[in-house]
């Protein structure tokens, strides 16, 4: 297990190094002069030069990279060119709302997917199965930038139950969380169904049934824990999609998270903040995947032994 752990952490380290380098290079794909793009055509040469020095763009590329990495190690992400605030502080302010939204969406996805997937697996080929898989197919096809406005149209405008946007109280969390969680729920319910179907054919399930155990107990006690393993992996992998989806969802609902900050910074051409946002989201994704892998190793002894 220790070898597996070390191997996995070393891989994650190199991936993070590569991600940081990619993010560093992002500012260099801006067509023409990035400083000119940030300050606009009417900027004075002195201002351009000052900004170039502030961003370190006057240095050779390798030196810029070393500087970027050094600053990153010291958690110094620079200063927002728009608000003049420390980017680390800016990110810290926006991380909370994104985390709340992501956790709420995840909970919604699990609450929908587990019963739906189980129902479909237990009644394979029935109407329940078809309804559940229909929901799943539809859920994957509906993009969140349409789902959001649709929910606003129904629950905020037509029924007046929930606020259109903002971040005041639990009521304003419901619509963004449903918007973000539905696609994941659709995918997960499919995964829960196939995973359960696979487990339900195992000998120990037949043995449990032969001992006269109730169907519910067989599912909850014996099938679910074993079916959960592949689902956890998919969940970890899909969290990335959730974080990327948050960029759009937060924009629709004016949710003050990292996603909204990313889009606002793109619109303001505040490139250092864009870089920092992409970096934070990707780092979170890599860490979550690492944790998922480690959890998987801990939950399933076979994985540990194979390594």
């Amino acid at each position: 297990m220790l070898t597996y752990l070390i191997k996995r952490i070393i891989t994650a380290f190199f991936v993070l190094l590569g991600v940081s380098t990619m993010v560093f290079l992002l500012i260099h794909i801006v067509p023409g002069d990035p400083v000119q793009a940030m300050l606009g055509e009417s900027a004075q040469p002195a201002d351009l030069e000052a900004m170039r020095i502030a961003l370190g763009l006057h240095l050779p590329l390798l030196q810029q990279w070393l500087e970027f990495m050094n600053n990153l190690l010291h958690l110094d992400l620079g200063e927002s060119f728009y608000s003049r605030r420390d980017i680390s502080l800016l990110l810290a302010e926006h991380l909370g709302p994104t985390a709340i939204l992501a956790v709420a969406s995840l909970l919604i996805a699990i609450c929908i997917a587990v019963p739906l997937g189980s129902l479909a697996a237990m009644n394979r080929g029935s109407h329940w199965d078809r309804i559940a898989m229909g929901f799943s197919t539809l859920g994957i096809a509906i993009p969140n930038f349409w789902m959001g406005p649709l929910l606003i149209l129904i629950f905020s405008i037509a029924l007046g139950w929930l606020p259109v946007s903002g971040s005041k109280g639990l009521s304003s969390l419901i619509l963004p969380a449903i918007t973000l969680g539905t696609a994941l729920a659709a995918l997960l319910s499919r995964m829960v169904r196939s995973s359960l179907l696979e487990v339900l054919t195992e000998d120990y399930i037949t043995a449990a049934r032969a001992r006269g155990m109730s169907s519910a107990r067989v599912i909850l006690r014996h099938a679910m824990p074993n079916a959960a393993l592949p689902v956890i992996t998919v969940l970890g992998m899909q969290l990335g999609g959730l974080l990327a989806g948050a960029v759009i969802t937060e924009t629709i609902f004016s949710w003050p998270g990292i996603g909204q900050l990313t889009i606002e910074s793109i619109q303001r051409r505040d490139y250092p903040v864009v870089q920092a946002c992409v970096l934070v989201i990707s780092f979170t994704y890599v860490f979550v995947n690492l944790l998922t892998d480690l959890c998987y190793g801990m939950l399933d002894p076979r994985v540990r032994l194979e390594q």
């Binding site: 991936v15 993070l16 590569g18 096809a141 406005p149 405008i157 999609g241 759009i248 793109i266 989201i281």
Partner: protein
């Protein structure tokens, strides 16, 4: 299953036909009629008019052209590049393969379309930049699949035999490996088309794709969100178009997966 598949095929054919005939049909997507601003669907215009009094039907058809064009361009370039790089890495092995694995891992560490959003944002708004951004992200899936498939196939006897007979590497790749790995790649490409349709619409929704007065389903939804209270049809029509197309392509992909039976093909 057959009915569903027939409906899906019809929607895809209709989408392609509308997109291809968009420049021939008598459409006027940019014509502003002030008397028709935010008018709900009516007989003359089935889907109503937008905030500038432009026909939504016409704009949906032009949007179909945008989404098809972007999807075809992105998937074609991504598929060719990704397959070539993946096959090359799998075939050569050694440090070349290790390097490819590292590059793929790095690209895959960027969740979803986040990298495309950042790239499109930094390159500047516009459809060409959106295509570039989506292609830079899109090749990864194909490369990963092509590499894995090539690794599995290159040890087979007929490849060893071809190699022993002195057949050149590129010829082995083209004639002996590519046909065997084509099935999973075609399926991947099908799902990539639907993912690209959503990705392009997402970028346009965020204001990073098609710019005014151009028309994209994503930008139409974006414009519509401002008038949801008085003109919900502005949001509903393009959304239904996206869902129908994506749903149909996904159903086609599922069907293709069943027909081509990937696992059987790979195991041979």
């Amino acid at each position: 299953m057959t009915v569903r598949f027939s409906i899906a095929t019809t929607v895809i054919i209709l989408w392609c036909l509308l997109a291809l005939l968009a420049s021939v049909l008598p459409l006027d997507p940019d014509r502003i009629v002030l008397q028709k601003i935010l008018v709900a669907p009516e007989w003359q215009s089935w889907l109503g008019y937008d905030d500038l009094g432009r026909s939504i039907v016409d704009r949906i058809i032009i949007g179909a052209r945008t989404s098809l064009l972007v999807a075809v361009c992105v998937v074609l370039v991504s598929a060719v590049t990704g397959t070539l790089l993946g096959m090359l890495a799998g075939w050569l092995g050694g440090w070349c393969d290790h390097l490819m694995v590292v590059v793929l891992d790095i690209f895959m560490a960027f969740p979803g379309i986040l990298l495309a959003i950042a790239m499109a944002g930094l390159l500047g708004p516009g459809i060409i930049n959106a295509v570039i951004a989506l292609t830079l992200v899109g090749w990864v899936g194909f490369a990963r699949l092509a590499r894995a498939q090539t690794l599995g196939i290159k040890q087979r006897e007929h490849i060893t035999a071809a190699h022993a007979l002195g057949t050149r590497g590129w010829r082995i790749g083209r004639q002996h490996i590519l046909p065997l790995i084509a099935a999973p790649l075609i399926i991947e490409a099908t799902f990539a088309v639907s993912a690209t349709v959503i990705a392009e619409a997402s970028l346009s929704f965020l204001g990073l794709g098609v710019q005014a007065p151009g028309s994209s389903w994503g930008s139409m939804i974006r414009e519509g969100t401002r008038y949801m209270l008085v003109a919900p049809h502005m949001v509903l029509a393009p959304g239904i178009a996206i869902c129908l197309v994506v749903l149909s392509i996904n159903l086609l992909g599922d069907r293709l997966r069943d027909i081509l039976d990937v696992r059987q093909t790979v195991r041979g």
